[in-house]
Amino acid sequence: MQREVMFAGFGGQGILLIGNILAHTAMEEGSEVAWVPSYGPEMRGGTAYCLVVISDKPIGSPIIKNPMHLVAMNRPSLEKFAPVIKPQGVVVINSSLIPVTSGRSDIHELLVPANDIAMDLGSTKVANIVALGAFVARSKIVDFECMRQCVKEQFASREKLIPINMAALDAGQKAAQSK
């Protein structure tokens, strides 16, 4: 079975990083993975997105027109990608920055005020990790504990950042479960 996740937002929101963490986690679990970034001629502060493909067999086309899931960190991303997500997909909406919803009734929509939660934790920089925690908790696409290890590895060279990122994952998980 193949599953695809689109992560999208502004440049600087850590979009490519959370895609990387998910791909890394899925690889550690033994899945085939591909991480495909957008590298078109984007402006600084423009949109950034990446697609993570996770499969139990070698991945054919890494270019996917209709991904299964979406994590939208800003409004343009939601407007661009929500219409193409497959039915029954999980769509995480960063409701701190996005005042609208997807307008679709055939998907699992999850509103997470990622920036507000992150600010409460001490830094809006971890809003991406909050969203990732919420997405994985809801979609169960990878094992949450395995992902926790991968986040630790990701920040191994900046150890003092590990606690806040762990807290962000937990807060995201909590946000997903309370809905």
């Binding site: 993975v33 591909a34 027109k65």
Partner: protein, 358 residues
């Protein structure tokens, strides 16, 4: 060592180091600048050299010089940069020196765009520079295969004393996939004594080595070209590599595709199979030498109505496919060259439009 998640460009840089190449000269250009970024840090760690040339023209001759001294050397660039190196590539081919070139192809012609493309097929396989020469050209379809091809490229370049080119595309360079590096160490070239201009002191035999590409005497130049031709003929005998997909089915259409495009075709073939429509693929892993015989043989199979070359170009490899099929079956082309990659659905539609009996 287990699998690690790596960007194609970084994996290519690491693979060269693992292959024992400690000289990297380059000039940055999207979509492959991460190779230089990676090696600017990594080369000093392993005692190697990263030198940024003032242009790709300079880089071409830095490679020529280092290879002439018997050093393992490589570069990476993207389409316009390879055009600038093409003069040196012709000279290096003429001087019969082993150099590895990696072209992470972007859209052209001219400055074109920065998105994935396969529009440098002609340039890589039919010249680019002047004169009767060929590069041995390999085309990876995944990050892991890019690693394996880079590692294979150095011994091959030395075996033939000929430049080898890895023809990737922007997606192979930019995408992250799990990779595994074998611990196999590649030895230093053993035939260096026969050609390297590294001084008489270290050499076992007592003869002068000369690196040159100028043969003013007609007879000598003819002999030189015949020797080169014999080398290219030997590559055609010994180095053809390809992969088949669904080739044992009763396929109605044969797809020929390489690199990123071939992955889209694989998904399309799976989707068509699920509908009960059989198609097969031959994926050339070497573009020169081209898998002429395997394509001819597969195309001749009963029930095969069409042969289709899918490319991220306006139809280049299709000429080699036509040459392979020799009129035994109708040959078609389908592709895009702006940087967009056709979807599996688009491939399915194209295949069905070329096959008469549904």
């Amino acid at each position: 060592m287990g699998k690690i998640l790596m960007k194609g460009n970084e994996a290519i840089g690491e693979a060269a180091i693992r292959a024992g190449c400690l000289n990297y000269f380059a000039y940055p250009i999207t979509p492959q600048s991460e190779v230089a970024e990676y090696l600017s840090r990594r080369m000093p760690e392993v005692g190697g050299v990263f030198l940024q040339g003032e242009s790709e023209v300079a880089v071409g001759y830095m490679l020529f010089g280092a290879a002439g001294c018997g050093e393992r050397v490589f570069t990476t660039s993207s389409s316009p940069g390879i055009s600038l190196m093409s003069e040196a590539i012709s000279y290096i081919s003429a001087a019969e020196l082993p150099v590895v070139f990696v072209n992470i192809v972007r859209g052209g012609p001219g400055l074109g765009g920065i998105l994935p493309s396969q529009a440098d097929y002609f340039q890589a396989t039919k010249g680019g520079g002047h004169g009767d020469y060929h590069l041995l050209v390999m085309a990876p379809a995944s990050v892991q295969e890019a690693v394996e091809m880079v590692m294979a490229a150095f011994p091959l370049a030395e075996k033939y004393r000929n430049p080898v080119m890895i023809l990737g595309d922007g997606l192979i360079g930019q995408m992250m996939e799990p990779v595994e590096f074998s611990d196999r160490l590649i030895s230093k070239p053993t035939n260096k004594d026969d050609w390297a201009t590294n001084g008489m002191d270290t050499r076992k035999r007592n003869a002068r080595n000369l690196v040159k590409s100028l043969f003013l005497d007609a007879v000598q130049l003819e002999e030189h070209n015949l020797a080169l031709k014999a080398k290219y003929d030997r590559m055609k005998q010994e180095e053809v590599r390809y992969e088949t997909y669904n080739i044992d089915s009763d396929f109605q259409a044969l797809i020929v595709s390489y690199g990123t495009m071939s992955r889209v075709c694989k998904t399309a073939i799976d989707n068509m199979k699920a509908e009960g429509f059989e198609t097969a693929m031959i994926r050339p892993q070497t573009l020169f030498p081209f898998p002429v015989q395997p394509i001819r043989q597969a195309a001749s199979k009963d029930g095969c109505e069409a042969v289709i070359s899918f490319e991220l170009s306006m139809g280049q490899m299709v000429e080699d496919v036509e040459r392979s099929v020799q009129g035994k079956r109708p040959v078609y082309w389908h592709g895009k060259a702006g940087g967009e990659i056709p979807t599996p659905e688009e491939v399915v539609d194209a295949v069905k439009s070329f096959v008469k009996t549904k």
